[in-house]
């Protein structure tokens, strides 16, 4: 690009539109917010009003007690992620947003599964649990509770495996994520 006054010209055909783009993949937004009342309501309200669908959302403290971190996962196939982050940025209590690059991120969620299992099936369920590096945290005569940590994909794969035994209940925290390397998330 030339300096002002130079004659190099631009043709309109060269211009490409930016923004409002669907990336088609899952996004993990790591959002630092001021730890003040109502902040979560502002964020969830914003998502509801603008028709942004949250897949998972988890909130927790950070090393700074004035600041909380909210990790949001959402689908970039149905949402213009740049519009989501720009709208979030407009909230005064939102300090920083990072759209984490999947390959540069470690993401985990915790899930608890209560699976129907009696003496006939318990061994098999426990074997699956072992393969997924899960932990049995409670056993009764007719059920078993298993704790799994991992990526969403892993948790979902585990769910598919145990569902046929009879999934009594399942609880998931939603993902939290942290950037690889020395820099801050």
């Amino acid at each position: 690009m030339g300096d002002p006054g130079t004659k190099d010209v631009l043709t309109l055909e060269e211009l490409e539109a930016s923004g409002n783009i669907r990336t088609g993949r899952k996004h993990i937004l790591s959002v630092l917010v001021e730890n003040k009342p109502g902040v979560l309501t502002r964020i969830s309200g914003l998502f509801a009003r603008r028709g942004f669908n949250i897949n998972t959302l988890s909130v927790g403290p950070t090393d700074d007690e004035q600041v909380s971190r909210i990790t949001i996962t959402l689908d970039g196939a149905t949402h213009p992620i740049d519009q989501v982050t720009k709208q979030l940025h407009k909230l005064i209590n939102v300090l920083k947003i990072r759209d984490l690059e999947p390959s540069e991120t470690v993401a985990r969620e915790l899930a608890l599964f209560k699976v129907a299992a009696d003496s006939g099936t318990r061994a098999e369920v426990m074997q699956i649990c072992e393969i997924f590096r899960g932990k049995v945290v409670d056993v009764t005569k007719r059920s078993i509770i298993i704790e799994i940590t991992g990526t969403t994909e892993k948790v979902e794969a585990f769910e598919r495996m145990v569902r046929p035994f009879g999934l009594v209940e399942m609880m998931r925290t939603g993902e939290i994520a942290i950037a690889r390397g020395r820099g801050e998330t």
Partner: protein, 560 residues
């Protein structure tokens, strides 16, 4: 110092000279401070009136408006003005009373979670939790309301906290780590925009309310005139570029001119300044300006590429960006004659469809509503501050009153709030005491905040209300006529009330006009009458606002 006295001190430090409100139990402490605090308080008759008055004040002066209400119903009455200020980016600080902290969450008498209720309608809101926070919260509220893209901020003060004694020290700086404004505009992008403009053969400059909010009319005009760029503006932008003017295409959008809408439709480059590609502008989005590339200048990054993807996004304050864009454009070697063909095409539309020909005037004494607006323009010499309500009269005013300066046209664009006009006029008149302020309203809209006539009478606020009286909720009737087989459902207002008597009952001067032949002189006389005046003008009952892009249609399919 009492916390409430600190409130008054903070407002003074922010340069506030007037506030609009109405007291109640929870904010009696605040009102005690206003008793002799040294800031003018206008006692409105409904909190919504106060909220819109604060908006009118802000829009006319460019300063932050202030509106007060008590807890519960006082606060909920403010919801419409808050939302209105959000939609039109109006800087207003709303200070609400709240029940005492010991009652919060108990459904106490007159408790309403106004912070919760207004969350989607505010730029920001602050619930006071400790009395010592009050001064800082107020300064933050003003800072947020005024800067960046302006907007409403609500500060909710529980009554017990407002009675506390606090150590008050003037605050000179606010620090908001999560609040950033982008004012300068990226130089590279601005240069790119200048080049794109130089390359364009069918450019259109499309300005919005942001130009006025940024006080950038002068820069906007200079930039538009740096070449023979055709200029159009949204409803909110009127006045930033003078009408009439050889480069002026008229208003854009649903009831805009054909020249403006057709030019957008055929443009190869659209330079949007401080507007947001609202559906009233784009009409059918998928067919909006199909051949155009877009430069989008806005202070709010979230507006860029929200509805229409931008090719050259520029985030910044219009005043700064336009000055730089002008310099960049002037440094280029451009040839105005490249626009000849474009102007020929535009001139054809202008000639064929001038706005004056959008209606046929009566041949007898009947007053056509469009003629009424022309007459108001003549009677005021085009030099008044005009507020309006919502409906046909609003569109006719936008079309036929030619605004040639910014902050002369005050209306509710984004929310379309009936009842906005009178209180907004009140606020404008208080903010600009040397100007004639005229509220052009409809018989329907006017009744949504008529009570403020009492405020005008008591305070001697000399607004001139002109009612375009068609006995209908006219704009709705028009839609029912055009798209619902004339099934007029619940739009006939009859001949009620008698607006002249009503005006008199409120202590205002009232007149009724029915004769076209003496209209301009009669209006002049009414406007020259001191104090608040209500002019009830009987207009053609079933007149339609044209031209029009029917909703769901594309701009090139305008009718009427």
């Amino acid at each position: 110092m009492r916390a409430v006295d600190a409130v008054v001190e903070c407002l003074k430090a922010e340069g506030v000279d007037v506030v609009f409100g109405l007291p109640g139990g929870a904010n009696i402490p605040t009102y005690d401070a206003f008793y002799d605090g040294g800031i003018r308080h206008i006692l409105v008759r409904h909190e919504a009136g106060g909220g819109h008055a604060a908006e009118g004040y802000a829009k006319a002066t460019g300063r932050v408006g202030v509106s007060l209400g008590t807890s519960g119903p006082g606060a909920t009455n403010l919801i419409t003005p808050i939302m209105d200020a959000m939609m039109d980016s109006v800087p207003v600080v709303f200070i609400t009373g709240q029940v005492g902290t010991h009652l919060l969450g108990t459904d106490g008498f007159q408790e309403a979670d106004i912070i919760g209720i207004t969350m989607p309608a505010v730029k920001h809101s602050i619930m006071i939790q400790h009395p010592n926070e009050i001064p800082r919260a107020l300064h933050e509220a003003f800072h947020i309301a005024r800067t960046g893209r302006p907007g409403p901020v609500v500060v909710d003060i529980p009554t017990d906290l407002s009675r506390a004694d606090i150590p008050y020290e003037p605050i000179t700086d606010v620090h908001l780590p999560g609040y950033q404004t982008f004012t300068e505009g990226n130089t590279k992008q601005i240069r790119q925009a200048a080049k794109a403009l130089a390359a364009a053969r069918r450019p259109v400059i499309y300005g919005g309310g942001g130009v006025i909010n940024a006080n950038a009319s002068e820069e906007f005009r200079a930039f538009c005139r740096s070449d023979r760029f055709p200029v159009t503006q949204t409803l909110m932008g009127l006045g930033a570029f003078p009408a009439p003017d050889p480069q002026w295409l008229g208003m854009l959008g649903m009831h805009g001119t054909r020249a403006a809408n057709y030019a957008m439709d055929e443009a190869d480059l659209i330079c949007c300044v401080g507007a947001r590609f609202d559906d009233r502008i784009t009409a059918k989005l998928s067919e909006f300006a199909p051949r155009a590339k877009f430069i989008h200048i806005d202070v709010d990054p979230a507006e860029i590429s929200k509805n229409v993807p931008a090719h050259i996004p520029i985030v910044g304050d219009a005043k700064n960006v336009l000055a730089k864009l002008l310099a960049e454009y002037e440094a280029l070697d451009t040839d105005s004659s490249r626009l000849d063909e474009w102007w020929q095409r535009i001139a054809g539309w202008q000639k064929q469809y001038p706005i004056e020909k959008s209606f046929t005037d009566s041949e007898d004494t009947e007053i056509k509503p469009q003629r009424l607006i022309q007459a108001v323009y003549e009677a005021t010499g085009g030099d008044a501050i005009i507020t309006s309500d919502v409906g046909q009269h609003q569109m006719w005013t936008a079309q036929h009153y030619h605004f040639n300066e910014p902050r002369r046209w005050i209306n509710s664009g984004g929310l379309g709030t009936m009842g906005f006009g009178l209180p907004a006029a009140m606020g404008a008149a208080i903010g600009c005491p040397d100007k004639t302020v005229v509220c052009i309203t409809g018989d329907g809209s006017f009744q949504m905040n008529t009570q403020e006539l009492a405020t005008c009478a008591q305070e001697g606020i000399p607004v001139k209300v002109i009612i375009s009286n068609n006995g209908y909720l006219g704009m709705v009737r028009q839609w029912q006529e055009l798209f619902w087989e004339k099934r007029y459902s619940q739009v006939d207002l009859g001949k009620y009330p008698d607006f002249v008597k009503l005006a008199e009952a409120y202590g205002c001067h009232g007149v009724r006009l029915t004769d076209k032949t003496t209209l301009v002189d009669d209006l002049k006389a009414a406007i020259a009458t001191p104090g608040p005046v209500v002019v009830d003008v009987s207009v053609t009952r079933e007149e339609n606002t044209y031209p029009m892009i029917p909703s769901g249609s594309a701009a090139r399919d305008m009718v009427g």
